[in-house]
Structure formats: structure tokens, C-alpha cells
């Protein structure tokens, strides 16, 4: 780029990136955030002060070497910038898209209050995409093979992080996936308009090139038990995720047209039902869709539904916008796309017709009372405020708990009352020797980044254990 701004020039306005026009994007599944072009990236990179104290890097769950990669980007050596990120995180194209940077690195940026933070997430995504699209990515070198074998259960973000770290250290890693596509929640849960599938596939392929073995269609706990795996592997890492949908326990939840967010998103994202009948898996939403919940999964469900072209999509949340656990950016995106938000509203009963199909939702208005155990103000139903919303389909997106299959089939594996596997915080070790766990199967429904962070920490502990007693 000619005349690129001198680094650092923090006073340049923060670039928040371009987005697909809301009217266009609400009828397609293409990516919403368009990402930086090379000039935008250089200009944004020029804003970084390169702080010696690296507050951004310290705030990052996977400690990406942020000032260093941004400096390499500014020097127009994108391949080197990508390699710099790879030193601590192998998945910048994923993290650059789905990490809530505004609560981590960008919240810690010293420019935040005066000029707006450096758009670190967008720079990370640019680095990864540019390097991938221009063949600048070389898988990191792996240490000579040890004779140690590790099995990762699940192929979501936490297992991918474990697999990457342990393979780099020379261990033989096999990843088991229950479904037909790798990536876990990155494939079945997060919609393509937030995370294109080719990005996930590229990252999985890179691990394959490093020598990680991927086996699909194996549901550990059913197809093979942990005890059986133990005979063939030195270490097992359980990263089976939070796949169990929480029901509302409202009357009528068994009506046709009522989905868990897991089922709805799996149909649309994993099975590609939005391309029915080109793809074979169908969906049914009708003309009026209601989504219940206030988290990222609720936003994803509502925005997927909107793209299928119904007359209306309404989102019911029992608190107000301020209490919504969803990322602010996703709430804004959903609003721009025409989702109708009904705050302080909760469904109490679902009513259907004689064929057992959903017809309308009885709702009640709420008011916020005193803060509850979570620190958020408790929603209280307002007597006499009942009203009806017509609905042909309804997606329940009020949370997930840990997938119970492994806990139920592994004697001696300790779990808490919510079904989460209990681990030692520092080492990710479970109650059974040689068995580790992390990500959502431990935390319940959390984030991709925390799952990766768990994976990195577990990999360190596993490597230590595998190295003890060998020379």
C-alpha cells in the first residue's frame, strides 16, 4: 500500500468492518461480516501502539501474541503474522470470527476509551484468511514421534486445541467424532453466516496434515466406551460438549413445530436443510416463528429462521436487553435483520391443533425484581398480563447442559449435579487416572474460546504426565 499511515497513528478512527446489507443478508446464508481488505488491515494495524506491557495479549484466553502479529501485518508480512499467531493458537480464522473480543483483548486495549480499541479480532481474521487464501500457511513443525497415544473424544474446539498442542509435541493423536462432520459446535451449531464451513474444514485439514487422525461416526460411550478406549490409548481427553438441550417444561412442548435449538440448528447447519430439497433433510417452520431465549444460540436460531423466509420471527426474552447474555453485536445484527424482540416476556403454555401442530403460545409479561443468585434481577410474572402469540413453530434456546452419554457409561467418572464432569482446575484431570476433560462437558454451555483455553491447559498437563517416567 502506498502512503500507508505511519505506525503508531492511534487517532485514526477505529474500523469496525463492513457487513452485508441487512435486507440482502436476511435471505441468504453467506457471511454477514465481510472482513478487512489489505488496505483496511494496514490502516487498522497502524493504530496499534505496540504496548510493551501487552494488556491485550494478557487478556486473551489463548494468549495470542497480539502486538507482535499486528506489527508483522503492518510490515506486510502476513505469512509471518499468521505464524506468530500459530505459536499460541492454531485457529485464528475461527477465533477471529467467533471470539467476543470486546470482552477480552479489545476491552484491554489502552486506546479503548479515547479512540476506540484496535479492531484486533478483525485483524486476526484478516491475517488468517489472507494467509489461507494465498497459500501462506504452513502447519507448525511437530517434535519427533513419541510412542504415546492420545484419544480426544469429540472434535469441537476444545479437542481441536488439545490435538494441536499434543501433536506438536510429537504424540500420536486420534480424534473421535460422533457425527459425520468434524468441528462439533463449529459445524452443527454456529451458522455459516457467522462461520463459513470451509474455514472449519481447513483448520481440521491442517491438523490432519500435521498427522492427527480423525475418525467420524463413533459415539464414545455407545459405539466404544471409555474403558475400551483405555486399552488402546495412554490418555483420553473428553471434550464431548454441552449437547443436552434444556426443555422449558411448559405444557405443549411435544407439539409438532417445537424444536430444541440443538435440533433446529443441527437441521439447518449440519444437515444443510436450508437447501431442501437439494439436500435431503427437511425443516418445518411455517409462517410465524417464535424463538425463546436471550443468548447467542437464541440469536443464531432466530437469524437462521429469518433466512428461511417466514412472515415473522419473534424472540421472547424474560428480562430486558441489558441482561441478555448474547454478544451485543449479535443482538444488533438480529435487530437489523428484522427479528421482533419481545422483552420481559415468557411463554407459559403452547397450544396446538387436533393434528398436534403448534398454533399459538400463551405468554406472560414479566417485571424485574431483586437480583437473584446469578446477580441479575429476577424476572417476576405479572398477574393478569397473559396474552397469545400465534406461532407455527417455536425454538427453545434457553440453554444446554453437558452431554450425559459418557458420564452414564463410565463407572467412577465423577460428575456434578448438572451433569458436568468434575476436573482438577489446574490440570483438567478427572476422577479417573489418565482421563482428562474440558470445554462445555465440564463448564456447561460456555464459549468456543474458553473451550480452547481448557484444551491448551489440559494439553500441558497431559504432556507433563506423558513425559514423566520417560527420558
Amino acid at each position: 500500500m502506498e502512503n500507508k499511515p505511519k505506525k503508531p497513528t492511534p487517532s485514526i478512527k477505529q474500523n469496525l468492518g463492513r457487513h452485508q446489507d441487512p435486507l440482502a443478508r436476511r435471505s441468504n446464508f453467506d457471511e454477514v461480516a465481510l472482513g478487512f481488505g489489505p488496505e483496511e488491515a494496514l490502516t487498522e494495524a497502524a493504530r496499534c501502539l505496540g504496548c510493551k506491557t501487552k494488556p491485550c495479549e494478557l487478556a486473551c484466553p489463548v494468549n495470542v501474541k497480539i502486538p507482535e502479529f499486528i506489527d508483522l501485518l503492518y510490515k506486510e508480512d502476513t505469512g509471518a503474522a499468521a505464524s506468530k499467531i500459530f505459536e499460541t493458537s492454531l485457529f485464528p480464522a475461527i477465533c477471529g470470527r467467533v471470539c467476543p473480543q470486546e470482552t477480552y483483548c479489545e476491552a484491554a486495549c489502552v486506546l479503548k476509551d479515547k479512540f476506540g480499541p484496535v479492531s484486533i479480532g478483525r485483524l486476526e481474521r484478516f491475517t488468517a484468511d489472507y494467509a489461507r487464501n494465498n497459500g501462506l500457511i504452513t502447519p507448525p513443525p511437530c517434535a519427533p514421534d513419541t510412542d504415546k497415544k492420545v484419544a480426544c473424544v469429540g472434535s469441537g474446539p476444545t479437542s481441536l486445541a488439545v490435538a494441536a498442542e499434543l501433536r506438536k509435541l510429537g504424540h500420536a493423536v486420534t480424534v473421535f467424532e460422533a457425527l459425520h462432520e468434524f468441528g462439533g459446535v463449529l459445524s452443527y451449531g454456529i451458522p455459516t453466516f457467522r462461520l463459513p464451513r470451509e474455514v472449519v474444514r481447513f483448520e481440521v485439514d491442517m491438523l490432519r496434515r500435521m498427522g492427527v487422525r480423525f475418525l467420524k461416526n463413533v459415539l464414545v460411550g455407545k459405539s466404544l466406551t471409555i474403558e475400551e478406549l483405555k486399552k488402546d490409548f495412554d490418555i483420553i481427553y473428553i471434550g464431548s460438549g454441552a449437547g443436552l438441550p434444556s426443555p422449558m417444561n411448559a405444557p405443549g412442548e411435544d407439539l409438532v413445530g417445537v424444536y430444541s435449538s440443538n435440533e433446529f440448528l443441527t437441521r439447518i447447519n449440519l444437515m444443510g436443510a436450508y437447501k431442501f430439497p437439494e439436500n435431503d433433510t427437511p425443516y418445518y417452520i411455517g409462517e410465524k416463528v417464535v424463538v425463546v431465549g436471550g443468548g447467542n444460540t437464541a440469536m443464531d436460531s432466530a437469524r437462521c429462521a429469518q433466512r428461511l423466509g417466514p412472515k415473522s420471527v419473534s424472540l421472547l426474552y424474560r428480562r430486558t436487553r441489558a441482561e441478555m447474555p448474547a454478544r451485543g453485536e449479535e443482538v444488533e445484527n438480529a435487530m437489523e435483520e428484522g427479528i421482533n424482540f419481545e422483552f420481559l416476556t415468557a411463554p407459559v403454555e403452547l397450544e396446538g391443533d387436533e393434528q398436534g401442530r403448534l398454533k399459538r403460545v400463551k405468554c406472560v409479561r414479566m417485571a424485574l425484581g431483586e437480583p437473584d443468585a446469578s446477580g441479575r434481577r429476577k424476572p417476576l410474572p405479572q398477574p393478569g398480563s397473559e396474552f397469545y402469540i400465534e406461532a407455527d413453530s417455536l425454538v427453545v434456546a434457553i440453554g444446554q447442559s453437558p452431554n450425559p452419554v459418557i458420564q452414564q457409561t463410565t463407572p467412577g467418572l465423577s460428575a456434578n449435579k448438572w451433569g458436568g464432569i468434575i476436573v482438577d482446575e489446574a490440570t483438567a484431570k478427572t476422577s479417573l487416572d489418565g482421563i482428562y476433560a474440558g470445554g462445555d462437558v465440564v463448564r456447561g454451555g460456555a464459549t468456543v474460546l474458553l473451550a480452547m483455553k481448557d484444551g491448551k491447559a489440559a494439553a500441558r498437563a497431559i504432556h507433563e504426565k506423558l513425559s514423566a517416567g520417560t527420558k
Binding site: 486420534t174 460422533a178 457425527l179 459425520h180 452443527y188 487422525r213 475418525l215 467420524k216 461416526n217 463413533v218 459415539l219 455407545k222 459405539s223 466404544l224 488402546d232 449437547g243 443436552l244 438441550p245 426443555p247 411435544d254 409438532v256 413445530g257 424444536y259 430444541s260 440443538n262 435440533e263 443441527t266 437441521r267 449440519l270 444437515m271 444443510g272 437447501k275 431442501f276 430439497p277 437439494e278 439436500n279 435431503d280 433433510t281 427437511p282 418445518y284 393434528q355 398436534g356 452431554n403 450425559p404 452419554v405
Partner: protein, 291 residues
Amino acid sequence: MKHDIYSTEGLYKIVEKTDISETISKHVIFAPLIAAKAKAGHFVILRSREGGERIPVTLVDWSPENGTVTVIIQSIGKSTTEMNAFKQGDSFSDVAGPLGTPVEIKKWGTVLGVGGGVGIAELYPIAKAYKQAGNKIVSILGARNKGLLILEREMAELGEIIVTTDDGSAGKKGLVTDAMNDLYAAGKGPDAIFTIGPIIMMKFVAQASLPHRTPTFASLNPVMLDGTGMCGGCRVEIGGKPKFACVDGPMFDAHQTNFDLLLKRTAAYRGQEKDSLERYAKGHQCRIGLH
């Protein structure tokens, strides 16, 4: 021969395919891990190709030595029709399993199997396992007509069989429940009943055995998506409580099963399924009587 259960070499290839009738085919598929772990009552999820549906099918047979599993598929919708158009040497893109909870095999005394249509295929391994456990096996095999009756010979090897068809083209004309009632009337009531077939048939089998208090188990076939306990789409109501057929089942206490709810929920996608099949049939030689 000992197979490496972690190898992906030749995985999901159809090593043998036999057409049993116009619309029913038997596939023997190479899947050593599943073959090594399979038990009576387990099922697998098949996908024919990229973009294909996940289709749950109960295992009929398996051979750890050959590394193969056997399924019997009836062409009902587009996906199953496409699968049955496969030839020996073709491969499924995916076979996941074994899935579900196998049936508990124990000594009941006399076990009655009541199979309807392609459900007879799923009944066979269960009857075989009970036979091996020392039970006496009696089977009632029902079908719409003679052409749709399968595994008659195999079931006969396990014990007495009674055949019923809707049109009387084989065995007695009538319903499987007529034959059940005859058994009870003759004082030959069984000690346990396993039934697999159309939901409406299983519902009436449960009703017929209820007054006699015969423990009765039905293999439920709700709409299923992932088959791993993740989506809840296959939820069924057993004793008033929700259960997931994919991990808790598919075999449940028939007297506790809410069959009416199951009937309603399985109708969810009938419209789309019909459209999809019609579109497919237009482009192919039609095998199942649609125009």
C-alpha cells in the same frame, strides 16, 4: 480375521446386496468397529452421500470376523429409495454406531415376537439372542401381502411362526393381534412380548397384552436426527416422562408408551417427504408405485 477397528480402509462399502422384494433390500456393509461392538437391539445411522439424510436402521446381523454389519432397508422415502438403488461395491458415505441401548437378554420362558413388515428384520436378532439365552420363541409375522413378507425362513429356524397378511395372500388373513388373541384364548400366552413394526400395530399389540399383564416391549421409531442424544427430536413419552429414543431406547415398555403422541410427532415432515420423493421419482425409474 482380526480387523483394526480404527482403520478407515474400505469403510462403509457394501460387500453384498440382495433384493428381498421389489422395495426391500438387504445390505451387508463393511464396518469393523460396529461389527465388533454390536448387540441385539442396537441400531446404526446411515447416510448415502454428502447432503443425504441421517437414516436410523436397526441392525439385523453382524459378523466381527468379517467386519460386517447387515441391515434391511425398505424404500419408503427418497433417502431409502436411493440407498436401495446402491449396488454391491458401492459405499455409504456414513454408518454411525452401534447406537442405542441393546435389549436386556434374559430367561423369560416363552418369548413372543410380533413383527410387522420390515420390522421383522429388526425382530430377528432379538429373537435369535433370546433363543440363545434358552427361551422358547414364537413369532407372529404380519405383512400387507405375501410380497412384503420377509425373513420367514430365518424366523422359522428359531421357533414356531404364525403368518398373517392383510389380504390373505400368505398365512391367515387378518391382523397380528388376531393371532395374539388366538394364542391367549388357547392358553398359550407368552411370558414376554417384543414387537417391532408400524406404530399403530405396536399400539394394538400393547393393548392386546395389557389385560394379560404380559411384559411387552416395543421398538419405537420416532423422527430422529443426530441419534446421539443431542437434539431431542426423537423424544417419546414413557410413563408420562420424556425419553430420547436414540440413547434411552429404541426399546421401551409398550404399556407405558404414549403411542398417540408418537403417531402425531412422526407425521411432522410427511408433506416435505412426499415432495422430495416425488421429485426424486421423476428423475429415476420409479420403484415404489408413484407416478
